[in-house]
């Protein structure tokens, strides 16, 4: 997700009440904004949930999305993150055909990607891989030749990158005499 911005990432803090997801999703549908992925979960404060929504930038003018979201009463805070300024993670579970001759190649691939084997059957294995979406894309590409049986991704979650610059010292200005 580098180079041209094709996606906007919104991190939306909402009141943890029933129907809120429907309000947010309905808004996107109504205004013609296309959702690429969506993840919802409670936050550290049980009164609130956080939604991470990735939208197709071409269909959704950044400013309008933010402003329209703010109009929803249960929406507390909307953060739009540039992919360069965000820590993005996604989780994928993939079941791939793994006859005995292919199995070692697949496990090798899994270890390169720091993926974990979660389940093993006679003919297939299920792998869990986490990381940035492009890593998941690459893993998918490499597993395709073996035969993917089932695949499920969670959708992106993201938090802003932390500032690492030390607080600047304020310079003392003296007025010219």
């Amino acid at each position: 997700m580098q180079g041209d911005i094709q996606h906007h990432i919104y991190s939306i803090l909402v009141e943890n009440k029933f129907g809120v997801l429907s309000r947010v999703a309905g808004l996107f549908a109504r205004r013609g904004f296309n959702i690429v992925s969506l993840a919802v979960s409670p936050t550290e404060d049980e009164r609130f949930s956080r939604m991470t929504i990735v939208v197709d930038a071409a269909s959704a003018p950044l400013e309008q999305v933010t402003k329209q979201l703010h109009k929803l009463i249960p929406v507390i805070k909307v953060m739009e993150m540039h992919p360069d300024d965000a820590v993005e993670r996604e989780l994928m579970l993939v079941t791939v055909k793994a006859a005995s001759d292919a199995r070692s190649q697949i496990t090798e691939l899994a270890s390169i990607f720091e993926a974990r084997i979660e389940d093993v059957g006679f003919e297939s294995i299920t792998i869990q891989v986490a990381g940035r979406p492009d890593k998941l894309d690459a893993m998918t590409d490499l597993l395709t030749p073996f035969g993917i049986v089932e695949l499920q991704r969670t959708g992106l979650i993201a938090l802003p990158k932390l500032a690492r610059r030390p607080a600047r010292l304020r310079s003392v200005k003296t007025r010219p005499a």
Binding site: R23, G26, Q64, K71, L72, I73
Partner: protein
């Protein structure tokens, strides 16, 4: 104090100072109708739930207070979706209460069950499903707060029948706690300063006043700004009356059927000051060709309107009244500074001259021959001239609406009640009833089309039985006139399903069957006596059936999707040569 949820609901409405509500009972809302008998709130029993919603809107339009409607679940709730959407588009504060099947039955396809909250989510500012009777006062308080503050709009509260019967401990909350809802009221000081600077540099300014002026009770402030700057004002369909039509700086209505001067002034302006207006497609025409040389100052309480259609040079989020008051101060300060510096305040006399020439050369025209067919514009002019200056006028949607907006002299705010954004046919009769209930001492006329009238006329039964003496003028041209006009102009006169018949139904007999006085008018000389007769009736509604010329079309007109520069004047009168 232990009371039922239903009692708590009625008590909460009383605490919100509700004096009147419009509604129709049914199974799921039955528990709430019982304590209503003992309440001070006047309930007006409508004949169709859509009528209840539009009455609440008319009431809100005329009074500025939230209109309240209460109906049952299922079909009643779906019948009120149209008024909710109408109110949403025009930012009208209404509070709708719907009954719902018992909480445990929700989701079982119970009798008269529908997902009211789900269905109305896209057409309300917010809505609530009550799940605990203890929440009722808090939710009612929140509902009225959300409906009436910020950009106003409709809200809905859905109450399951068992919740209405549940016992609760009465309380009344001190305020509301909505962490996600904090409308910005005060404009940004620097932005206001920038706006004042643009205003002092402009040679061809136009104030583009929208419905937000009325919502913010900003008509006085606007007048102050106009008189300080000398800037001309156009008032959109939603803002008619926000600035008096009699004022020499009022150019009237812009847009698809706006007058030539209003439309062209915006096209040629170098500065548009949009106050509570939203650059609706009916105003801008083709957006790319709209006011190409104009810089834009855009003031709106809803941040999402700024830059939605046209990127403003100076965006200001805030309440129109507060922002305009600050603008007045900033412009006055600029003027004082100019005077101190010995600099002349830039003159816009040349612009005023040009506007006056357009007004002289391109007036709104029609031709009523004494023995010719009755012209709808003539009927409206006669109504305008034979009613009090502060008469409230409601209209439906179509040709009659455009003619009324063009020809009426709106000299007072809150005298024009119409459906702008949604364009809801059938709005006029119930909206006029709601307005009359809110403003019983004012004369209320509905100017309606024959097509519109047939959609909601049964509410005149409500008006008769409740002694609400509204007056209805049907401009009966026996056609769905606006559709006919488009078929004539853009579909080679191939008329498809637009003929209605002038005398089926017989409007006079229908009016009388509903307890109204019915009058028929066929010729120009009958118009004034009929209006005078209608004005003299004050104990029941009156319906006048004006048989008007079906060939008459609304001009000027900017064809849909065209630039406002391509405005078409009435060809019969367009003898002014090149423009």
């Amino acid at each position: 104090m232990r009371i039922t949820g239903a009692q708590a609901l009625i008590k909460s409405l009383e605490h919100e100072a509700v004096e009147v509500m419009f509604g129709l009972p049914g199974g799921a809302i039955l528990p709430v109708y019982d304590p209503l008998i003992d309440s001070s709130i006047r309930h007006i029993l409508v004949r169709h739930e859509q009528g209840a919603g539009h009455m609440a809107e008319g009431y809100a339009h005329a009074t500025g207070r939230p209109g309240v409607a209460m109906v049952t679940s299922g079909p009643a709730a779906t019948n009120i979706v149209t008024p909710l959407c109408d109110a949403y588009m025009d930012s009208i504060p209404i509070v709708v209460i719907t009954g719902q099947v018992p909480y445990a039955s929700i989701g079982t396809d119970a009798f008269q069950e529908c997902d009211t909250v789900g269905i109305t989510m896209p057409v309300t500012k917010h809505n609530w499903l009550i799940t605990d009777a203890q929440d009722i006062p808090r939710i009612v308080r929140e509902a009225f707060h959300v409906a009436t503050t910020g950009r106003p709009g409709p809200v809905l509260v859905d109450i399951p029948k068992d919740i209405a019967n549940q016992q609760m401990d009465w309380y009344w909350p001190d305020g509301v706690d909505l962490p996600g809802y904090k409308p910005t009221m005060k404009g940004h000081a620097k932005q206001i300063k920038d706006a004042a600077r643009l205003m002092s540099e402009s040679r061809r300014p136009v104030i583009y006043a929208g419905g937000g002026i009325l919502k913010a009770r900003a008509a006085e402030a606007l007048r102050e700004l106009v008189e300080l700057t000398g800037f001309p004002v156009v008032t959109t369909l939603m803002a008619r009356g926000a600035f008096p039509d009699d004022h020499e700086l009022c150019l009237g209505m812009p847009g698809m059927h706006g007058n030539y001067t209003a439309v062209t002034s915006m096209q040629q302006a170098d500065l548009l000051i949009a106050l509570g207006s939203r650059f609706d497609d009916r105003v801008t025409g083709k957006v790319d060709g709209f006011a190409p040389e104009a810089k834009i100052i855009h003031v709106d309480i809803d941040p999402a309107e700024l830059g939605k259609v046209r990127q403003p040079d100076v965006p200001i989020v805030g309440d129109c009244r507060l922002v305009i008051e600050e603008m007045v101060k900033a412009v006055a300060a600029n003027k004082a500074k100019h005077a101190d510096d010995g600099a002349a305040w830039p003159s816009i006399d040349e612009w005023h001259t040009r506007l006056r020439e357009w007004q002289r050369d391109f007036p709104l025209v029609y031709d009523q021959q004494p023995d010719g067919p009755l012209k709808p514009q003539f009927c409206i002019d006669q109504l305008r001239d034979h009613t009090p200056d502060d008469t409230i006028v409601a209209s439906g949607v179509g040709q009659h609406q455009m003619w009324t907006s063009q020809r009426w002299k709106f000299n007072h705010p809150y005298t024009w009640v119409n459906s702008g954004g949604l364009g809801t046919m059938g709005f006029a009769v119930p909206a006029a009833i709601g307005a009359k209930v809110g403003m019983p001492d004012r004369m209320v006329w509905a100017i309606d089309g024959d097509g519109c009238f047939q959609m909601t006329a049964q509410e005149l039964v409500t008006a008769s039985s409740e002694r609400i003496p509204v007056k209805i003028a049907i401009l009966n041209n026996a056609y769905l006139g606006m559709v006919r006009q488009w078929q004539e102009l853009f579909y080679e006169e191939r008329y498809s399903e637009v003929y209605l018949s002038p005398d089926l139904p017989d409007y006079v007999m229908w009016a009388e069957a509903m307890g109204c006085v019915g009058i028929r008018v066929d010729s120009p000389e009958e118009v004034e006596p009929a209006i005078e007769k209608a004005n003299s009736v004050d104990d029941r509604p009156v319906v006048i059936d004006f048989r008007t010329d079906y060939r008459e079309k609304v001009y000027p007109m900017v064809p849909a999707g065209k630039s406002n520069d391509e405005i078409i004047l009435d060809p019969a009168h367009d003898t002014y040569g090149e423009r």
